[in-house]
Symmetry: C3
Subunit: 139 residues, 3 copies
């Protein structure tokens, strides 16, 4: 059994945002799957998805601090600079974190660990609304 959803996330500030509930609330058929997988795919190259700690918001703040130091803006050797100083670093961060997450489904629910949540990683200063394609498969 296949289900596919195309959804828009509300625009987010640059940084890391917990979006598990914003996603799951739109998956009207999730509960019908007893065993399967959910694939979440972001259709952009300057925002990304990851899974990390869902409790302490300073983890998300620290992610933003660390990734800004790992991939700095305005390096003199960058050539792709026309779209702003945040653009090329956003592309690199997006590939370091990846455009998709795949999560097991068990008994109609995401089978995440206790402390896991889905992060939308917004790497642009003004990224706007981001589109996701969510594909569920199971039985």
């Amino acid at each position: 059994m296949w289900q596919q959803y195309e959804i828009q996330l509300k625009p987010k500030n640059r940084g890391f945002h917990l979006v598990t509930d914003e996603i799951v609330s739109q998956l009207t058929g999730l509960q019908t799957i007893s065993v399967g997988l959910m694939h979440v795919f972001i259709q952009h190259t300057s925002a990304s998805l990851t899974i990390n700690e869902n409790a302490d918001p300073t983890v998300r703040t620290d992610f933003e601090s660390v990734f800004n130091r790992l991939v700095k803006e305005n390096e003199p050797y960058y050539r792709h600079t026309l779209e702003g100083s945040d653009d090329l670093p956003a592309h690199i961060k997006a590939s370091l974190l990846g455009p998709s997450v795949t999560i097991p489904i068990t008994d109609g629910q995401l089978n995440l660990g206790t402390w896991q949540g889905i992060y939308l990683c917004e790497h642009r200063n003004y990224g706007g609304s981001r589109r996701l394609v969510i594909t569920l498969n199971g039985e």
Copy 2:
């Protein structure tokens, strides 16, 4: 055809560990799938999974050295510090490497390259036993 397994890995020291055999030996139904996919998901946010070289153990040692320099402990700007100096770096490393791997199945076996193996990446000093949810799908 769907199969799902929840398994515990034996506790590992901080570092990178080859776990292909520890995983595959518990998949009693793998050989029944002629074409499909295996999804391995770790239910934690300070350990991760990747695929890399399965032969020379110094590759795994070097991974630990490199990731410790890429994401240092005790940076003065970290705010999520209550759980120890290894905790926030562990979260970052976990997202850089990712919480899951997906591997093709062909003729009842994982279709890995000759030199590929699955790594459990233990980013905490005392991470304990780690839980995996493994989902097989195929025909």
Copy 3:
């Protein structure tokens, strides 16, 4: 419905290369799937796959510059050095970017965003031809 393809990519220079068309042109059954997923897996540990910007070639040039600085050659603490100065950094880059991408299929086509393409990330100086295992599943 399952389809699996094993293909060889033409040898590429070290760097980041857009390979969407080279891959899709070999998937003779893609158009028969109305909803599903494509999993592309590289059977190597010193090359990798990612999804990023498909238009401006300087993005790919900048990726090579950034990853070469993020994971340098010839660090004195590397121990896995017998296969050349590009080898251990290639393994690290491969795990940072990952050995696979999974992309939704909708109406017989990859459901990528407008600006997204698949990159073959060749981290070795002389990597040669790279093998991919591509698994399609859908209905």
